[in-house]
Amino acid sequence: MQAHILQISYLIASVTFILGLKFLSNPATARKGNLIAAFGMGLAIFTTIFLYTDSDGNHLRNLPFIFAGLLVGTIVGWLTAKKVQMTAMPEMVSLFNGMGGACAMLISIIEFQHITQSANQTIVPLGELATIIVGMIIGSVSFAGSIIAWGKLSGNVKDKSFGFQQFINIGLLAVILVLAALAVVNTDAQMFYAVLVLSLVYGILFVLPIGGADMPVVISLLNSFTGVAAACGGFLYDNKVMLVGGILVGSAGTLLTVVMCKAMNRSLLNVLIGNFGGGSTSAAATSASFEGTIKEVTASDAAILMKYAKKVIIVPGYGLAVAQAQHVVHELEELLEKEGVEVKYAIHPVAGRMPGHMNVLLAESNVSYDKLVEMEEINSEFTTTDVVLVVGANDVVNPAAKTDPNSPIYGMPILDVENATNVIVNKRSMKAGYAGIENELFYKPKTSMLFGDAKKALTQLVSEIKNLG
């Protein structure tokens, strides 16, 4: 009876995962989807603890330890997730992903020990061993890679690449696969641990050379890796809910990764081995000299320009997130609306550090959802716009993506801000954006620069508009 209840609860949990992901891909139902999946997860966990029996009908032991582990994980996970700053969300996701990878890795290690120690088995279960080692390789790559990705996003780890790194990585991967095959065939413990260490090293080397701007794509990819590692566990224990959850995330995650790459008009391969930073330095040097000069604008002039405009479009970028200027930009928007100005936000799919980063950030300060317009829809509106205010964005408004085939961002769809009558760009300095290239837009006659930290500059702008009465 109990076994049947367990199977039914696994079935329910599997359905909640599918529904959860489905709901998560629609803004109106997303939150509900997350809660549904969380409910299914809880159900699966608790029915496993109480109802799971092994092939001999024994229940699980060590329940106090299991509950202690759950308790510790819940408290720590809950608190960190609740406390983390909105801007630090991406690295948090990466960190949690790494934990899942490590969990899969540990399961494999324990199961391997279990098989080798319950020795004098005349028949070694090859299929099980293979599943264990595949789960371990993927789990540890995901773990090590996620930690590096987390370090990069939080600024603790710098981009590093050395010559022939891609060849070393491919070679290392080949060595891992050969050793893994040997470890399975010979049930060799030493080789098993060698594979473990090499997989961790591979995870580090895999992520290390990839530019910080591409981390979201990498995290998404590692996310689907962990899904596959979880599915290996499902295969091992003949556990359908692990299999369904893992494979779902594996396939949906892979597709999501590809979709993210498409938003930047790049291929996954290009992200993984493209060395964005390295190759572009030469391009930056050659195209550094543009015609025209930089024109600065004072906050009061910018205020007048905006107050008497009919239509203003704000283009937010990473600078807005860094300066935590989401509230003051909302204040500016409300102020202008009160003056009868039509205000919209133009959201580039890769503005910020993650797709959707700007939406989350602006939603935090209660900017209404329908004011955030995606790139495809708003691009035609720039021609009828009086003032575009670019706040801390750079590469996503760089016309070189259209005009300069040598530019590393050539082909990336951009916001056509240059079609507007006036462009005001708020930046801290003339420093290049994440792609490390100059932006011709800043040198155009209709562009004027409002230098300074986004929060300070916008606060000043708001008070100047108020002063105008």
Binding site: L24, A30, N34, L60, V76, G77, F235, G246, L255
Partner: protein, 100 residues
């Protein structure tokens, strides 16, 4: 070769499940707007925390101190993945609520 084929047919049910789930996974997020990329990734991240079931099973069968402590660590890490993942996702989505 025979061994591999045997493993294959022995698990044919699971293999069918894997293939179907690959298609389901691709199908259900096919039309996601870019606004939701980050929350969706985060939600998927929480769902692969289902690996915790494996760590619970491993721990419930552990006999030695070593496997017990490794299992404990696995349960803690798995729980972090699940709880942290769902809570972070919820916090992201909380911000999408419409203004009244």
């Amino acid at each position: 070769m025979e061994k591999i084929l045997f493993i294959f047919t022995e698990n044919i049910e699971l293999i069918y499940l894997i293939i179907l789930m690959i298609f389901v996974g691709i199908e259900i997020i096919g039309h996601v707007p870019s606004v939701l990329h980050t929350p969706l990734m985060s939600g998927a991240n929480a769902i692969h925390g289902v690996v915790i079931i494996g760590s619970i099973i491993v721990m419930g069968q552990a006999e030695h101190v070593l496997s017990l402590s490794l299992g404990f660590l696995a349960v803690v890490l798995g729980t972090l993945n699940v709880v942290g993942g769902f809570v972070v996702t919820d916090r992201m989505l909380e911000m999408f609520k419409k203004r009244k």
